[in-house]
Amino acid sequence: MTRRILSGVLGVVIALVVGAIIMLIEGYEPLATYGALAQFSLGGIGPLTTTLKNSVPLVLTGLSAAIAFASGPVNLGQPGQLVFGALAATLGGLYISLPPVLEIPLLLLLAIAGGALWSGLAGLMKQAFGMSEFIVTLMLNMIADFFTAWVIAYPLMDRKAFSPMTPPIARSGWMPDIGPLNSSVLLMLAAVVVMWFVFQRWRAGYEWRITGQNSLFARLGGCDVRGNFMAVMLVTGALAGLAGGLVVMGGPHRFLKGLGANYAWDGIMIAIMANNGLVETLIYGVFVAAIQTGALGMELITNVPSEIAQVLQAVLVLVIVATREYAAVVFDRLAARRQARERAA
């Protein structure tokens, strides 16, 4: 446990140093840049709540990927599931108007159903035709991408707008702010807690974990491997769909062109950084959101382009994964050398 924290912190530090070296080569001031980055992401209530709100789609898609990878199914369809969730919530918000206490849960359920529908389709293809979910989810991403692009450019396009987007959803479907904090953050935290409980305490979660580690053992042990596969696909799709719904309901309140953008791919990277740990996904998700949020402000007061945040993010992923794997080897080797010296003496 302490070792895991140590190698995580070490990874972040090394990544920041590498990032600083890149900035120095480019002729920028690393300390000032990091200072601005921190100031606009963590310095005060405003930046902090913005960072948290921005972390919602990252953490939820990260959670989706982490649970899928740790349970076996290679669900890489978070981008498609996210836009389908967003589309479902948007449709509900355009055509149904209820008081907020009913409207919000309804739109959230629609988002969850939209994501689960899209991942469930991939799951069915695997069950029925033996197609690898790896390739099917990737292909369904493309279909989802262009389908939603068509929907917002033709049937649902807002004639008054300059770029493809839908009209705004019903006001009662907006995620309310609680003081400076958007309530979508609370939903995200609730989702992490619930998923942790399902994964660590439920019988289904136990079977998912074991199946992810050794599916033959799980199968021989009497676990319902087929059923669990479908359940994991549906749950992880639902999480990505929820992310999409919250992006619409908490932010622009309509489906904009390019809404999915990179959230879901970032989420998959976060799951990889977190080694599929759920709590780690939350931590790294907020961390990445801080970098992305801070980068926009940083661009305002320094002459460093915000693209440096993307470079930093890529370096982080690589260095954190490398540090985790290599630290284990180094720790083991040090222990071995110590013991060998004792025995030889």
Binding site: W202, N214, G222, C223, D332, A335, A340
Partner: protein
């Protein structure tokens, strides 16, 4: 007589803290057969790999003819005349015997960049074969020759490189009882031509028959080096295990009860028509241990898959307690069948999962006390108590319930699996090579537990490639050969020789 090779104060720690070789000093003389014996994990293979330059050591000195040497890779050792044959055969199956032998050191026509001189290569290989009377055809394709012949090719590869020290890592583990004497005769001939043979084994009978001297290792330490003529099996076993070991069966007469398991006309046909399991019928009664002997790959795998529900048989039926199981799901079968697979890491456990997670497998579905809220949530309090009971009852040595399963030693892993399956309280027990890869102490323990299942009136089907094991604990021995059961023998009325011949030939021909 001075030692030809001497290892002085060798230490090897595998990261993080597996002390594999603990300050071992031993000498080998020219032209002797020197066996290294010890239980699994005693460090015998590692010690030889240190000598061979395959594994770097942490401290110590290797001397040849009194001069210190340091091999950084096996190639250095081979250049100095030391070669090692590993447990796994590493040959290219599409190549012929001679192509495999010369590979990497081919005779070439026309210097660098020249062409392979096949005629000379064949001649050189044939000369080596004749010199050591190996009875091999240099032009035979490797995928068509027997395992014993493959092993000879491995040895020949080294002799071709003019090696004068041969290290053999458990070479008999892949051979049938009939093939072993021939290998031993060849090894003795090699020794008489002044080759030093270092023979790693844990089969004491073989070691006593073959060796001039024997070094015993236990838990990484050298216990003693003794002349084979001045020791016996009991003394060696005691040195190996650290206490007395009983080699005779503790099996006492036990009345057999009703029929529990029955297979009728079980067949598995491969897509090309080959019958992997051919009309197999037999039954196992309560309080009876039925052993299945046979060289691996003669239908045991298909039998296990059919019983466990991993693959459906092409035809035939299986019943447990009178009810057909061929249409049941695996979970339904597990209410009737306990199963110990041959490969712990692949089928019997999840290595990265905690010991607790491994202990409750199957129980979590079959026993209500492990779940709450109608099976939605696991009851971890009961799971923890169960894991502790299991570990205590089956003496599993563990750091904590939450440690990963892979942190356990092989023997402890098997005890946990055995205990988990034992506590399922099913009428029928299927065991596929339950002692494979275990040390003598653990094997003794597992055998004791299997016998106590018999006492508890459970029906046990034991698949094993180890004939001694079958004779120690089985009441009846069935022999499988090419997918068929070719003999059904009562343990008291047969012997290893007879079973061995059924295994190889499928029938007894006068």
């Amino acid at each position: 007589m001075d030692d030809f090779i001497s290892l002085e104060h060798m230490v090897k720690v595998y990261p993080p803290r597996v002390l594999a070789v603990d300050n071992v000093s031993v000498g080998f003389q020219k032209g002797e057969i020197h066996s290294i014996v010890g239980e699994n994990g005693a460090g015998k293979s590692t010690l030889m790999k240190l000598l061979y330059g395959l594994v770097p050591f942490d401290s110590g000195v290797v001397k040849i003819n009194g001069a210190a040497v340091h091999f950084r890779k096996p190639g250095d050792a081979i250049a100095m005349g030391i070669g090692m044959v590993h447990q796994e055969i590493e040959l290219i199956s599409q190549y012929t015997v001679w192509e495999n032998v010369v590979l990497g050191a081919e005779p070439v026509r026309g210097g660098i960049g020249g062409t392979l001189d096949s005629a000379r290569a064949i001649e050189l290989v044939r000369r080596k074969i004749d010199e050591f009377q190996f009875n091999l055809d240099p032009s035979a394709q490797v995928e068509r020759i027997s395992v014993a012949a493959l092993q000879k090719v491995e040895i020949l590869k080294l002799l071709y490189r003019n090696v004068s020290v041969l290290i053999l890592d458990e070479p008999t583990s892949v051979l049938t009882p009939q093939e072993i004497p021939q290998l031993f005769a060849e090894l003795k001939r090699l020794r008489d031509k002044d080759t030093t043979i270092l023979f790693i084994s844990h089969r004491l009978d073989e070691v006593l028959e073959l060796s001039d001297r024997i070094t015993v290792m236990r838990k990484g330490k050298k216990i003693a080096t003794v002349a084979a003529s001045e020791t016996n099996k009991e003394a060696l076993a005691q040195m190996m295990v650290g206490r007395q070991v009983i080699f005779t069966s503790k099996r006492t007469p036990h009345p057999r009860g009703d029929r529990v398991f029955e297979a009728k006309g079980l067949s598995v046909t491969r897509h090309d028509g080959l019958k992997l399991l051919d009309n197999v019928s037999f039954s196992v009664h309560a309080g009876e241990i039925v052993g299945i002997a046979g060289v691996e790959g003669n239908g045991q795998f298909e039998l296990v898959n059919s019983v466990m529900g991993l693959a459906a048989p092409t035809s035939g039926s299986i019943t447990v307690n009178g009810g057909g199981i061929t249409k049941l799901s695996i979970l339904e079968r597990r209410k009737l069948i306990s199963f110990v697979p041959q490969d712990r890491g692949k089928m019997g456990a999840s290595l990265p999962a905690s010991i607790l997670d491994n202990a409750i497998m199957t129980h979590h579905r079959l026993e209500p006390r492990f779940s709450a809220w109608r099976g939605l949530v696991l009851n971890y309090r009961n799971a923890r108590a169960f894991t502790d009971t299991l570990a205590k009852r089956f003496s599993v040595q563990m750091a904590s319930r939450q440690s990963p399963f892979r942190s356990l030693s092989g023997g402890n892993q098997q005890k946990l699996i055995l205990g988990r399956e034992f506590l399922l309280s099913t009428p029928f027990f299927l065991m596929d090579q339950p002692t494979r890869g275990l040390d003598v102490g653990s094997i003794e323990y597992v055998h004791g537990e299997i016998l106590s299942m018999r006492e508890a009136n459970r029906a046990v089907l034991l698949i094993s490639a180890d004939l001694e094991e079958l004779f120690l604990i089985a009441d009846r021995i069935l022999v499988m050969h090419r997918g068929r059961i070719v003999a059904d023998l009562v343990a008291e009325q047969t012997n290893i020789e007879e079973v061995g011949r059924y295994m190889l030939e499928g029938k007894i021909t006068a």
